[in-house]
Symmetry: D2
Subunit: 305 residues, 4 copies
């Protein structure tokens, strides 16, 4: 299988030229668009990898399922579902999905920015710094990597330029979905997006979701089977933004992408996959990452459909 991964990485590297690295956050623009890496962790304990799988990058939107998990673990499903919906928005990641003059909780989704910002207010902590630390701890635990830390430069860059997210957060505040200070909530959100990970980390986190809540090796349960179903289902319907439908058809597994170039793909009961490929298509998904996953899905019959 190492060989298959090497081969896919070689085949797909070419298509990195069809996309481009994110530039809306100045720090992200520094990425090398040609890099591509993959790490796969299987349920029998084997792991394999190819390319730039050790390269660190910021997690960006791939943190959204972890935020959702922590919100579920802290509050239970009913509480979370009542505050943030689960339907696909049919719109880009930073869309304002408002019906005329009102914002309904059913219309915000934890996998797009507005829902993820709302999620920050649901996780527990006496301060937003503490909330972020708890999120960071959970990320380290799921990834089995105590080295995971905040990328200060990206965080400061996001904080300085994140005006669309500020607009979204003030809309949430306007309609009663944020009670705390908007800048504090956003600070937690910008930090969450700026956690630095590598493909191996994403593969491990994906594995726990594929393994319905249990860590590899120790088999320790971190969250319930029910929460795995909840998160994986949302990843399937909305994890790849407005490219989720094509991804479901062509790859057929729950996944989440981020503008840092990461993709985390969950193959229920079978494997966790982490990808790094910072050249993005117009929807914000890793161009080469999707190609690698498509090839892997075809050759290893990964589609759950």
């Amino acid at each position: 299988m190492d060989e298959l991964l090497e081969q896919l990485v070689e085949e797909c590297r070419g298509c990195t030229s069809q996309g481009k690295v994110a530039t809306y956050i100045p720090e992200l623009a520094k990425a090398n668009p040609e890099e591509l890496g993959i790490y796969v962790l299987q349920s029998d304990g084997r792991h394999c990898q190819a390319g730039a799988y050790q390269k660190r990058f910021t997690i960006q939107s791939v943190v959204k399922p972890i935020l959702l998990l922590l919100a579920l673990m802290d509050n239970g499903e009913d509480y979370v579902r009542a505050r943030v919906g689960v339907e696909a928005t049919g719109k880009p990641f930073d869309a304002i999905n408002m019906t005329d003059q009102t914002l309904f909780s059913d219309h915000i989704n934890p996998m797009v920015n507005m829902g993820a910002i709302a999620m920050c207010t649901l996780i527990k902590g006496s301060s937003y710094e503490e909330r972020f630390q708890r999120l960071l701890e959970l990320t380290r635990k799921l990834a089995g990597d105590p080295e995971i830390r905040l990328d200060e430069a990206v965080y400061l860059s996001e904080k300085r330029t994140g005006n669309k997210n500020r607009a979204l957060a003030y809309l949430l505040k306007t309609y009663g979905m944020i009670e705390d200070e908007v800048e504090e909530v956003l600070d937690c959100y910008f930090k969450a997006c700026s956690i630095s990970v590598n493909s191996k980390d994403l593969a491990h986190i994906a594995f726990v979701l594929a393994n319905r809540g249990r860590l590899p090796q120790t088999d320790e349960r971190v969250f319930s089977r029910r929460y795995a179903h909840y998160v994986n289902a949302i990843l399937m319907t909305c994890g790849m933004y407005d490219g989720s439908g094509d991804f479901a058809v062509n790859v057929g597994v729950p996944a989440k992408s981020g503008v840092g170039g990461g993709i985390m793909a969950v193959v229920p009961t079978r494997m966790g996959i982490g990808i790094y490929g910072p050249s993005l298509d117009e929807k914000g998904n890793s161009v080469a990452g999707i190609q690698v996953l498509k090839g892997l899905s075809e050759r290893m019959y990964l589609s759950i459909f």
Copy 2:
């Protein structure tokens, strides 16, 4: 398992009072809201059933995946994908998903009305009557039921009152997605929606999708594994209209509902399920049908996530 089905039907019959039967087509308003039936066909050949599983009703939107299948079989995936998109619209079944003054094929989806009407123009036939007959034949074959026929009364009722669908079709015509006469295309669509089936039929059709294109018993291949992936993936992301997200979280299998009260649920590799329960929630899905499927999914671990 018969016992489990009986029990679920009993438990869920109560919630039929939370919904109501469709009234926008006069013929549908005649249904008995308290009826509830289920039929399950498993991969080992066993089948079980409970309640009004023999009751005939019109297939309505559950015909959409069959239309999509026939379009794929007639034209191949690339041709179909270029003309009708696969993203969730995030909107109700009869929504007009236009961006300002333009309609993009990527914004129409085969599981909502506009996309399904476009699908009628893709299936082959020298006339729209012939196209409908080919669809009817495929439906009979997938269901293994040569008795399936058109419900003339519902068809005429739809034809007379289907003005929203006319509006959608004329928009498709305006933007070049329909070349033929709108009324002929609609005639085929209204007939397609008025095919009369029962829960057993839906279970058989779902089984072929679960079995990736092969019929039960004979194991004859009707369509490719690839098309099963294609259709099942779209059912997962958009099969239950703007209730698809909750259904994915709570039941976790590809499914399609219709305003006639039917639900067809596909449990890949394992089973096909057909439901009849004409009392609908506000999104147009069978209230009790969803409850039965939720119960069955929990007790039999059906979620593919």
Copy 3:
């Protein structure tokens, strides 16, 4: 003043190259984009003209205020206002101004297509042919031109290609704003748009609106002062589609444009103006016509603001 008009026509003819003739109806595409004509009728009885003022063209949307007038004359203001709103839509002429799944009468406007189609159902007549004949009679009377007639070729062209209008009409039917047969209503609407007029006719019609309901020469009252206020006010806020704001700022008088190249401008108490210039800007307004009116307004202080 004849001299001023000649001069303006010469000055503005150049800008016809900035636009293009309408092509969505095949017959309209045959117009000569460089033609430009103007006719002015003043309250003291003088009239002056320049350029192609005798050229006949189809009235298109300039018929909308006449439809509105006839609806008011037939039903009174309250009845009409309850069925068709008066607010600017902020959208193009053929926009679908729906709030989610509902269409409110307050959101349709008599100066855009949906509202004008609804208006056809409000005017009286035992058949839609009779309704059209009554509209034609009123147009002839206001223009003082018994020669005005239907352009059959344009009418048939519109009827054959008017699918967007069919879509709009079926939406009106869906939401109860049309009770009669859609094709009959549309037939009346397509005929109304295909009335053949010249700039002189438009100037006379505009004059009656400027003169608050009285014909020139005879001073015969055709409609009440109140209806003149009603129609002129709507022309000011929405007569030039989504270019109404710029027109109000730059010209400052009520006006209505049509894709046939006509503009009818009303200078209350002072004059009626008719323009022909078939080269249109992207909003569907005559490019040169607006320039001529701007020049005339500046030099003769026409702005009512």
Copy 4:
């Protein structure tokens, strides 16, 4: 005429019960809904008044035309028009008028919040405090009232609760229409809205617009005839929010309302009118104020149409 005003105020006071005072800013909720006052200044120098015409209230959105005037005076028409559009939005005052993911300057209007916030960045000053002081000076000059000052309590109340405006401002920042610090721009905007005026002040400001830029008495020119046309035209098409169409039909003069209960109405060449009536309809316009203006327009033939 004093008698006519007294009579209209008496007649219309009853309809104050059909509306309610604004509550979204806590300070505004303290107003007495039954108060009603009017002040009229005519071109022959006469003035008349009735009811609570001396009552001070915050100017709120009635400041928007003054902001627009100052932006025009500071930068010229071309500069302002290139940055803020003039079309009616067809939407409520605090609507987000975005086309998908982009915000076009042509889609923001100086009479709704987003455009008015953008206007604050166009007026000149070395600080936003200075910009506000210049606006305050212009307001005093137009009103001929050096007593006009900021209502600190309302300003602080707006600043504390104005989250929707913060969202709008961050959207403007996102799309490059604000370069300065959002909170500084908003501070100027909140102060602008909190200027305390009375009906007499509004009548005087309206008079200068009606008099095309010249003060009463001295006849000193404060701004050009052209800017009066520009501002009055926009007041006509969008000054009464999404009630502008009905107001144009029923009253027929340029006007601007504010949620503080004020209305400023401009009768070109004839008079300036100021109204105070804090009971608002659902669109945010003074219920009784509109009734008084309607009565006055009918009896004194004020409609410019």
